[in-house]
Structures are given as structure tokens and as C-alpha cells.
Symmetry: D2
Subunit: 296 residues, 4 copies
């Protein structure tokens, strides 16, 4: 069940849109991915929450998936986010990602109508049967409207062959404790809640799924390295330094705040798609001040 | 601000899918709409939550909108549901519905990323500026992930010309009290929470947005008629009789339970789309028993 | 199981404290009780949440219980509130109330440690076995920290002889629906949530447990009378008129707001006990304005 | 503002009751306190949640406070828990504790009626003005019904001289992050949520307020020592070993489970007070099994 392909800092690029027509800007995306890899990311995760995948149409989604995998070019592993309201389209996207060369997919069941455990299980099962690459279960109740219980997650890891990893974004550290216990520490879990990064590593997380490396790559790496080395004092210190940024980017919505932050850093990546609005000027100033303190 | 076009029982048809290929079955939809009108519905609301609009692609959505309006053929007013993650596609659908002849649209902002009040307002504003027919604000925190405060609703009614009605599905009667007070009883509000039907009418709701008429049309009418007549004793009596069905269809998810109920009633309308699963047999038996007691 | 002793407006007097030493002012309490009865209350409920029973020591509690029953002097029925952290002291108080001549007791289990269903049941059972007068189960999760499920309430009504009534203060109308259904409409339930008064009567509540008659007795009576007469239009009208006061007194804490309101009405009843503070002057002005509009 | 008197493992003794008459058993309490100190506790905290202080009358409370301080006899510091519904009695108890020789008091405002920030502040202020020993603010929303915001806590530390420490039992690690940031890491905070022990130390907690040393003293010490040494790998390992016990004792209610556990360990300390019931036999077996695995 162990999976050593993904560990450390798993970086989530935003999806840039062109100023002129609002379309996907693949060239800028490519440069952003290069930057993330050069800055030390251990893996790249396109089309996640940060990547505004929920706001792309199918053609755009396919383009971004293909271009991202090609751009990474096997320098680090790639996990592609799959979150679609219908199982049919989730399957289509998962197959597309596999064919494009993704190393894994991260599957978030989203809901209009709440899904029962039976429905969640079958959603994963149908996707798993359609592809051969590993599947990361992704639990994010706030954005998806579905809360997958640790017991169900562990059952899926046991019963569905390619489910091998879990990303937990509920922000509740007890969920990680539960995953650890239910699997005797065997299931690799990844933290998707930025302000919980220190404690998730303390609790044994294999990696941190985060958009923060778009803005403060060194700080995320330092936290990971101190954690892997078991150096709690250093981990705590570098965590508290970056925590204000981690809280800010989460609270304001990742596409909104990361795009604003990239602009502050001199990397023009456009604004999010409506109904999302760009960060207001008070927020921009606050973020600029935080980034200046951290990045010097 | 008053709007007398919509009142009473506003019925939500499911969207039938063909057994052979899963596609939309417009012929069956047409027959269902006829049945709802013949059974006394005061208005028809295609492409709502019940209509699985969240699970339709754009082509399917357009077909259902067009066919529904045509089928109603002005016998009663039609309000078409608009809930789309991007403002751009919500506008496209609203314009399509208007062109197809809808009398109004019901707009539910849905979220992947939570929307701020500024973002919700602008979403409505953009839609309103693109069409000329009335807009019903729709608040349904559980399915949409967004809770629109009564204060914001009232502000939109005041500042956006074609916002003239509110559908409240939070299930919290205090929200209706608040709408009443903030507008001095002027804004017509509609109840979208089935198990709150009695109390919403008591609190002054203009109508009841419900999928129940697919299964128990007479009972919903009787509740409305007793309420309009101010006959509390009769309203209470007919409400408690139908309440078990109202609770059951909500708890099991409306597309799932209404489609099962239609089959029980001898009207074949298929099953919901994956990841939604058909009602299990225990649920079918429970529902059949309830319907037998009510419909004789 | 039916209980016709208590119905209509069940009024909750505050417990007045002397300005000079903070002690209980029995003389003023007596005048307040007289006023409530003269104003038409159908029953009196001393030592409820409004009566600050939680903030009285045992001697004070006994004095208030005894004096209240004596003052009512059988003009209307009396139900005495019993809420104590230990079962032992709850039993002591229930026996004291019975001996003092109370017609019933209203029992609210309160928690420091959450109670299991087994512990709640045994708490009621022990009290029931110690007295012979009827017991009203009181569910008020917000103040007591315990939420008694409707299923457990109905089980207690069935299994414990003197449990014959339920006061529901959760503010959730669905709880009343559940009580109605689980008992085939047989268990009399009383509403303890002021802003739910209209809907609770619509749903069939036998009475309204309220502190509002300290300030606006006629309005509470009018709502009850319209409801009993089945006149929904009139009930709605008088409800919306008094709703701002009902919301205000609940939101600010009943002892705090009712004592402020009594002073506004010219009835000096002191202030609540620390840590509770008197209503601030902005609140006093707001309340005075509301009362002037209602009481003329 | 720093306070070095309290750190490490702050142990909460239960309050034993005699089997024959239910009265407080001071002799057994004395032996339990000796045991906790011999087992390495860095401080003793009588009359906390674990000590059933909520269920003691004033005389009993005084006896336990006096006997506990005397028994500790300055071997380690003592912090006495003060949680009373009225400010007046909280003051009385705080003064009693100070006179008895306590090194500090831990103050939990509890509510029947919710307290405003103004009321919480004044409650603390009144107590602080009556005594000279340090005050630990105690936030425990689940048992007390009041959630003290980090901003208010920090304000009280700044404005009230003897408020110098904070015990956080909300179980939300973000509260500790907030306290750290709002005070630039200056306010010592203590963790009161057992299943959060690892992460609280990771986040910089000065100590762990816990009843676990009654049952597994060595394990709590090992976690503290590994944390102080900054050894994350060791801290994680010893935490996960003891986590099932930590979860179990919290979930079942500390007085209930700790008393059951003491009996399992051969230390007879009676049962909790009604309405609390003793642990049922299934729970006893589960706990016995866990303790056997840990304590050998």
C-alpha cells in the first residue's frame, strides 16, 4: 500500500487566463510550472482547487492537463486533479490524464445532492476500473460539500487496488490520527490545509499539497526539511514565520490570493474567473507586506 | 416590487433519462409536465435541483429548457433554474431561457470557492443586466455551499431592477421572518424546504416550490388552499398527513426519491445520473407504503 | 397521556433582587405574579431560565418556590422549574416544590459533562420516583448543553408515569413535527422559543412558555387566541407585530432584557446577578421604542 | 508576562467519593495526589473538570481545595480550578484557594445564559481584583457553553495584571496559533485537549493539563520530554501509542473513565456522582485492554 512516488512539497499551480479574452494562457502556465520545479517542488498538481478546474470547460481542462504533464517532462511526478459532478465526466477526465502521462490522479467527489457512502464508493470504483495509475482520495468538505469519513477512506484503500494515498483538507488533525490508526500507519496521507502544515507533519503526513510555493517556495521547503529531520524546534520556528501567509491565502480563496501574490512578485498571471473577483487593494497591500517580510 | 405572476404550488419536474443510453428523454418530460399542470400546479419550474440541472451538459440543458417552455405553452407561468459555477455560463443560460420564452429565472449561485457578498452581488447583477425577465433569488446553502444573508437578498431586490422574488430553502423559518421585516412584508418569498411547508405558509409565503406534486399533487394543493383561506386547523391536518412523504423525499435526495416514486405510481421516468444511485429496495418499499396511504 | 391543566400562555416571572444587598425581593416577585395573572396568563412558571434559577443558592431557590406558589394561590396552575447539575439536588428541589403545592415541575437536565441517553433517562426516572405531580420534560440545548432527542422524550413519556408534557426550546420546528408523529399527536408540547411562537401554534403546540407577558401580555394572548380559533391571517398579523420584541428579549438574554423592560414599563425589578450585566443604554432605548409602539 | 512556575505535565486528580454515603473521600484523594507526584507530575490541578467540581457543594469544594494544597505540601505547584455560575461565588472560591495556599487559580466562566465579552471580562476582572495569585484563563466551550475568543484572552492578559496563562481546551489547534501570533509568542498556553497533545506541543504549548497521568503517567511524561528535546520522531511515536487511551478517556467523560481506569489499575476511587453513571462493562473491558497494552 505504501507509495513513495509522492512526498514532500506537492505544488499547485494556478491556471492563468489571458487578459484580452479570458482564455487559458498555456505559455504562462508553462513558465509557472518551470518556476515551481526550479524552486524545489517535489511534485506538481495541476487542475486542483487552486487551478480553478471547477471553472474550466472540458476543452480547457484537457488542454491544461496535457500541457502541464508535457511541461513537467518527468522532472518530478505529476498528479492531476479530477473533480466533476458526474461520474461519467470524471472517468473521461481520469482517462485523459492517464493518457497524457500523469503519474496519478487526485479524485474529489463533488456534490450538488449529498452523496451516500454507497454513492461515493461507486464513484471511486468506476474511476479506478477505468484507469491503471494510482488514485489519491481527496477529502475537502468545505469546497466539495462531501465529507468522506476516515473509515470509508480506509475501506477504499483496502478494496480498490489503485487507491493508494489520501489528501486530507478538512483541517481537522484528528482525521489524520484516525487514518493513521485505522491503517496502522500504513496509508500515506497528505495535508491539504495550509494552516495545519506544522501539525500535519508532526502527525506523520507524507507530504503537503499546497499552493504556497507559488509565492514562498523556500519557506515551505524549510518546514518539510525540518520535519523530515525530526527537528521540532526548527519546524515550529519556520512554520510560525510563514503562517500569516498560509492563513491569508486560504481565507481569501487560493486562486484569488495566489494570482494577486504572483503579480506582487512580478509574475503576471491574470485574475480569477467570474464570479470570483480579483483581490481588493487592501488585501493586495496586506499580502505585499507579508511577502516582503518573508522573501526580503 | 410585488409580483403576482407566481403563487401557490410551483412544481419541479424531474428530468427523465432514457434507459438505453442515459440521454435526456424529452417525450417523457413532456408528459410529466402535462400531468403536473393537469393536477393543478400553479407554475412549472424546470431545471431546478430536482431536475438534476447540475448533472446536465450545456446541450442537454438547452434542450430541456426549450422543450419545457414549449410544452407548458403558456398554460401556467414557467420559471427556469439557473445555477452554474461561472457567471459567464449562468448568463448564457439565462439569456437562452428568456429567448425560449421563460416567464422568469430562478438563480442559485453555486460555489467551489466560497463567494463573498461582493461576488454574489456582482454575479446577480451581471445576469440581471443581460436579461429582461424577473429574477428569483434562490438561497439553498446545503446544495450550493453559499448562504445568502437576508440583508443581502433585500439589498439586491432594492438595487437590481429585475430581482423581484426570493426562494428560501435553508429550512430556517427565521429567515422568512427576517425577509418579511426587512421589506415590511413587501418581498414575495417562496418556500423551498418541503418539511417547512405549513410554517412557511403560516409565516406568509406566497408559494411553495416543491417536487412533491410529482407524487402527491392533491395534498400539496389542499395545504395551499387551506393556508390561503386562513384555515389553520385544516392546514395543520393536511400537512401532518403528507409530512412523512415530504421528509422522505428530501432526505433521500429529490431526483432519487421522486424518480422512484414516479415508478411506484406507474409513471416510468428512469433513474438519476451517476454518482447518484437509484433508491434501494428498502426505500422503495417504504415510499410505496406511504404513497398508498395518501393516494389510496 | 393528555394533560389539560396547562395550556395557552404560561408566563415566566423574573426573580427580582434588592438593590441594596442583591438578595431576593419576594415582595416585588409577589406583585409581579399578581400582575401576570391579572393580565391573563393561563399559568405561572417560577424558577425557569428567566427566573435566574441557575444563579440562586438553595435557600433562595426554596424561598422563591414557596412564595410563588403561595402568591398564585390556585388562581392558575403553577409549574416550577427544576434544573440542577446533580440528580440529588434536583430531587430535593422537586420534592420541595411538590410539598409547596406546585401543580407540576418542569425538569431541565443540565450538564457540565455531556450526559448519555442512559444518564438522562435515569435522571428523570429518579426525580419521577420521588414525586407524584406531573413532570414536563424540558429540552433547551443552548442553555443546558444537552439536546434530548425526540425519540428519547417520547420513550420517557411512555415509560415514566408522571412525565406527561414536553417543553421544546431548541427553536427547531422539526422537533415538534417529530414529537407529533412519534406520539400520533398525543403528547402535549409547549413552545419555549419566542421567535417561533406563530409556527409552533401552527404545528399544534398546546401552549407557549414565555417571559414576554412580563412586557406585552395582550399581544401574547392575541396570538394564542387567534391560533386556537384557527384564524391564520389574524395570528400572522399579531405575531409579526410583536416579533421584534420577541427576538430582542431572546437575543439579549431573558433576565437581562425582561428586567430592563419592566423598568421601562415603570415596574422596578432590579438587575440580573453577576456575571450577567444590566442591559446597556443603547439596548434600553431600542427596547423602549419597541414597547412604545406595541403598548401605545 | 512569562510564567515559568507551571510547565510540563499538569495532572488533574479525580475527586473520590465514599461508597457508603457518597461523601468526599479526602484520604483517598491524598493518596492519589501522592501517587501523581511520585509518578512525575510537574504540577497538580485539583477541582478541575476531572475533579467533578461542578457537582460539589460549597463545603465539599472548600474541603477538597484545602486538603489538596496541604497534601501537595509544596512538592510541586498547585493550580485550583474555579468555575462557578455566579461571579460572587467564583470570587469566594478564588479567595479561599489563595488563602489555602494555592499557587494559582484556573478560571472557567460557565454559563446558563450566554455571556457577552463585556460580561466575561468583568467576571475575570472581579476575580482578579480579589486575589493576588496568578490567574489562568480557561477556555472550554464544550463543557462551559462559552467560547472565549483569542483576541479577548490576549486583551485580558494585557489589561488584567494577574492573568498570565491560558488553558485552551477547544481542541482547535488554530486557537493556539492565534494566541501565539497575537502575543508574539509571549503568552504561555497550555493544552487541555488530550487527543491534541502532540500537536499542541509542536505548536509550542508550555504544558499539558491532563487527567491521563492518573492512568498512564510515564507515557504523558515521555511525550513531554521528547517535545521539549525537539525530537519529533520520538514524540510522534509515543503519542500514537497512547492516543487510543487519550481518545477513550475524553469521549467517555473524564470523571467516568478515569475512575473506571483507576479501579482497573487497582486503585479504588469510587464512581462519579449522579446524573453521571459509572462506565459500563463493555467500556471497562475496552479500557482494561488498552491499559494492559500500554502499562504492561
Amino acid at each position: 500500500m505504501s507509495n513513495t512516488l509522492f512526498k514532500g512539497i506537492i505544488s499547485y499551480p494556478i491556471t492563468p487566463f489571458r487578459a484580452e479574452d479570458g482564455g487559458v494562457d498555456l505559455e504562462t502556465l508553462g513558465r509557472l510550472i518551470d518556476r515551481l520545479i526550479q524552486d524545489g517542488s517535489h511534485a506538481i498538481a495541476p487542475l486542483g482547487s487552486t487551478g480553478e478546474s471547477a471553472y474550466l470547460n472540458d476543452n480547457e481542462w484537457d488542454e491544461v492537463a496535457e500541457a502541464s504533464v508535457a511541461q513537467v517532462a518527468n522532472r518530478v511526478p505529476v498528479v492531476v486533479g479530477i473533480s466533476d459532478l458526474t461520474t461519467m465526466n470524471a472517468v473521461r477526465r481520469a482517462k485523459f490524464a492517464e493518457k497524457a502521462g500523469a503519474d496519478a490522479v487526485m479524485v474529489l467527489p463533488i456534490s450538488y445532492w449529498k452523496l451516500s457512502e454507497r454513492e461515493i464508493f461507486q464513484h471511486y470504483q468506476t474511476i479506478c476500473e477505468a484507469i491503471s495509475i494510482p488514485v489519491m482520495v481527496y477529502n475537502n468538505p468545505v469546497t466539495s460539500g462531501i465529507d468522506i469519513a476516515p473509515e470509508l477512506i480506509v475501506r477504499m484503500v483496502k478494496e480498490l487496488d489503485n487507491v493508494t494515498m489520501v489528501k486530507e483538507s478538512s483541517g481537522d488533525i484528528q482525521r489524520m490520527h484516525k487514518l493513521y490508526h485505522l491503517s496502522d500507519g500504513e496509508i500515506p496521507f497528505y495535508n491539504g490545509s495550509n494552516p495545519l502544515a506544522l501539525e500535519a507533519f508532526a502527525a506523520g503526513a507524507t507530504g503537503w499539497c499546497t499552493a504556497a510555493p507559488n509565492l514562498i517556495p523556500e519557506w515551505t521547503l524549510r518546514l518539510y526539511e525540518a520535519s523530515v529531520a525530526g527537528d521540532l524546534i526548527q519546524a515550529r520556528e519556520v512554520f510560525y514565520k510563514q503562517l500569516p501567509v498560509l492563513q491569508f491565502i486560504l481565507k481569501g480563496g487560493l486562486p484569488t490570493t495566489i494570482k494577486a501574490g504572483l503579480q506582487i512578485c512580478g509574475f503576471e498571471a491574470g485574475i480569477p474567473r467570474h464570479p470570483l473577483l480579483p483581490l481588493d487593494s487592501a488585501g493586495q497591500n496586506e499580502l505585499a507586506e507579508m511577502l516582503k517580510q518573508l522573501n526580503g
